[in-house]
Symmetry: D2
Subunit: 345 residues, 4 copies
């Protein structure tokens, strides 16, 4: 029994027990594969309730990169471009999957906090209509961002309005959308279709699921080709009930929200404690479940050896600490103690 927990990533955490139970509960008898089973139908209905709309098409895929490339393929042609923040997962953490699988260019904009703005988007629009240049067609934002920051609902609306006026779709990478909704004390609908989002990569793996994310479209015309795109992208699971069942558990009694609230709260506690250590400086607002901070370079390796985490920016000596649904206050206390003693290593 592995009882160790650390602060490297929320995907280092296990599966929530309720999710495991759900997997067991569907584990008998035969069901049609590839999503034509009752469990999947039921879960699709659940998505409608949770998202407060009938205008929603849900496609399960395997992981976040899969969700992003399926969504992007559905929204544009290879001669198009995606506007995103330089820190976006699609830009730096997917080994070029978006370029290879869509054929498109990413127009990655420098930001201080991982958040796109309408000003930044506007900068990419000068060449619309000229055959020499990749044509911007999708704005892709991440909520919560890779820097642990949040778009307010108003900011989302502003970006969506501006984008739609400029003939751009808005895609939301929601790998941590639960953390965002929990932090903003709102529902998924409020930060997706109600704000104008067209397509969503809906993540659960970082918040207690085993595998399986969802690509969601809020406009049926965008979803028509997705079954084929998903299959050709090798993202169609055969034994679909095992993804569907997880989401059923995830939505029951808002497990997603309690998991996310807890992770967020743990990050708040961690950040509060480390911010009292004078050699440490927080570099981003702590709005969800990550803490970005600069720490003395010589502390890093000894600390990592005791409790692993990632260096975010080597030059700045900036690290990232993440909390998860299963992080405990004891874990934090232990980790903070390690840091406090780092001087002596």
């Amino acid at each position: 029994m592995n009882t160790k927990r650390f602060f490297a990533s929320d995907n280092n955490a296990p599966i929530h027990p309720k999710v495991m139970e759900a997997l067991m509960s569907v584990n008998s008898g035969h069901t049609i594969s590839y999503g034509d089973d009752v469990y999947t139908k039921e879960t699709e209905e659940l998505f409608k309730k949770v998202f407060e709309t009938e205008e929603i098409d849900v496609f399960f895929v395997y992981n976040g990169t899969g969700a992003n490339v399926v969504a992007l393929q559905a929204l544009m042609y290879p001669f198009n471009a995606v506007v995103c923040a330089k820190t976006a997962h699609i830009n730096v953490d997917e080994c070029g999957a978006p370029e290879k699988q869509t054929g498109c260019k990413l127009l990655a904009m420098e930001t201080p906090d991982g958040k796109l703005t309408t000003d930044l988007i506007a900068k990419t629009l000068h060449a619309i209509g000229s055959q020499h240049h990749s044509q911007p067609r999708v704005v892709s934002i991440t909520q919560s961002t890779e820097m642990g920051t949040l778009y307010t609902i108003e900011e989302l609306k502003e970006i969506c309005d501006f984008s739609h006026k400029n003939n751009l779709f808005v895609h939301l990478d929601g790998a941590r959308i639960a953390n965002a909704a929990a932090a903003l004390k709102c529902n998924f609908a409020d930060i997706t279709w109600k704000a104008g989002i067209d397509a969503l990569s809906f993540g659960g793996t970082k918040n207690g699921l085993m595998f399986g994310e969802a690509v969601i479209f809020f406009n049926p015309s965008l979803a028509a080709n997705v079954p084929f795109i998903r299959k050709q992208s090798a993202q169609l699971h055969s034994k679909m009930r095992y993804i569907s069942a997880q989401y059923k558990a995830y939505f029951e009694n808002e497990l997603w929200r309690s998991n996310a609230l807890h992770a967020n709260k743990m990050a708040a506690i961690l950040s509060e404690k480390v911010s009292k250590i004078s050699a440490i400086k927080l570099t981003q607002k702590v709005q969800v479940n990550s803490v970005f901070a600069t720490i003395p370079k010589e502390w890093i390796e000894p600390l990592q050896n005791k409790s692993f985490f990632y260096v975010w920016d080597d030059e700045k000596s900036e690290v990232r600490w993440m909390t998860a649904f299963d992080t405990t206050e004891d874990d934090i206390e232990g980790f903070v103690k390690l840091i406090e003693n780092a001087n002596g290593y």
Copy 2:
């Protein structure tokens, strides 16, 4: 509790209880993601034992299509071609994923039984060296085939020898390799690297696992780029322990073999029984866990309504019945009774 079982596909079956237990057994504490965890390291060692070689590189991916496209990308350039049977899964059941993801052409050869031969491969080699033509570089065969037939070990060797002499790699689509090894009463090694196979898509989902297949290379030089290819193909799972754990259970006491032997045996029984019905004609040898047969056209729909299965060839009125690790003799009896009564529908 769903207790229904039918004969549509082995991927309609649930997860073997031992596999579910294995998933629960790793469900605590944090582990590094993306395959750097102890469970995955242990499982990789297990693969070496099971395959009786240290010269093996194992990469977990999500599904069979994912395994195939990752393997093929590793073996060739976009200007190359893959020689395969017309009935190959890569040719007819992956919505063009191989073409899109590798850029290559498939040279799909007509066969009576899903099996390539050296004669068929030879037919594709006339344009080697001419810049106008896609250059054959990989022979992809399926064991057991999509038609439920088997290559003997000698046939495999002959194909591999011929291919290597002609500067072609041999890829084995092993979505049902367990059924093949069980039927041939041999080990995986005997029908892979010992016969000359260069790369293998190793499947488990059709034989009792939940998700996760493996791409395997028997020559380290072929595997060097695969980590990047896998990630760019959106086939790298974060919480890898949940794939690794399944394979650990799969290999323990040769669960894979007992599952496959059982499924094969059930198909043998089913085929024996249906072959006694005069209106039914078997169209392929029953060597593993599928039964191909022509049946009166008017029987099909009423039968499907009672116990779903797929029509294989509409024109010929040919159907496919598959057994799985959990098929029972009672299931067969019940199904055969349905067929026998079909006359009356």
Copy 3:
């Protein structure tokens, strides 16, 4: 001064003198590049006249493969499939360019004469709507075919009607459309849009031009994205006037027709003469400018050494002889004499 002419291919011929004159005639002063010049505008107007319609969008590209891949990209998504004859240039002579550049699968059908039929197309339609299978969306036919045969206008109409009824576009590879129109004594319109063709690769290089083919759409909605597709496919020429000027000459006094008629006539004469040699058997109807024939295997090499040509099918000892706009009756007489003496080599 090279005065040798042989029967290997119509693209072995030089440029028609009128075309060279046209190139010289535009060779002064500056013009806007990439097609915004007056010469190109004028030529686009000419196309409207020649094709007898205002509903035509013309995009110059570099070569036939370029024309084909630009056209196909405009007509479908990567999860689609193209139905074509097995002998189609897109299937066997473009080193997999269609697969790589469109991401699509080619469904290549066996034919005796290079001609698709509605029966053959119908065979590919069984899986429409199923996410597991590449979805047929384009029928691509060649006129005149790679086997030197012709579709009648009625056959074209039948294919187009059938295709449109089944939600398929029809693309015509017109690398030798001039030879076809000349042979059928009709205009381009009669064998393109009037018969129902949606998109056309319009060739000139094999009939007296230097470089530059055209992709043509007969429905503006299909053409909207083509400027971007062409540029991204590296098929947009900067000094466009040098392509436009050639087409101006090509259309003047129907140079295309007189060139093609001449080439066709030369093939007719050649075929008549060789068909009298008892060891030679014509294998295809001679309808345009190629002669396919089986000849004694031992004749081939000595003959090639004296006057080069291509072997079409090694096994059958089938060769292809082509005539061009500049072939003379003397050339034929000389070549036939070589053949007649082949016995003695």
Copy 4:
């Protein structure tokens, strides 16, 4: 007869008369197509002389974008990345052709003058070896740059040395390499393989040719797959003699150099004259045949109407004026007069 000349682009110029003569000189008789003709063989030999090496593989393609995508495909895998300047033609002027055709990511670095430095390259190397990130494999620089600036021979060597030490190939986009060699008073060899360049897009169209560029490799092992890559990229011309002949003329008596020297000289004169106009500020060094300058916004449109040119940066009111091999001092005088009078428009 069009006698107008303007300052929009060097590709607005016509063909040099010597090049046209060369085209006519090869315009008789039949020759094998696709590069197996004597003219092409001779020209390939000429390249060896001009580049002062036997270690050179030359592949003719259609245009600069074609040259770049063929070169890049030969140098890397889809999971790789290309480091380039943000202003690079491959990054901003090819409608995403590099991304679509190679599958790779471009890592485009901000520069003041279009020139990469080893410091900028170094910034992209932190993630080498990590499967999550596109792996830099090629550095692509342009000589002369898109900003009309030059790398010194020493700077080229430094970049190549640094790149090779870091396992990166260096590709040179030489769309205007003639202007560079002329300005640096050196030979092509000095700024290519002698400096360490691995692959070269060798341009001629902007310096007096009609069509056809060359992809050149200085290491045979890099060139082995290029015939297939070129064909699959739709960049293989059939009537190759018409490209080869142009290059023969281009190299004779160093026509390339006299053309380039002239164009460069005209830019020097133009820049000298406009720099005396107080409302105009040069924004880049004038090292070859372009002049970048900021001019009063209200002058732009009236000036363009009289003599067309491109705005480079709308916000800064920066324009680009280019000279060509046929620009005359009279042309410049006339244009400068127009500018001087712009105040009055």
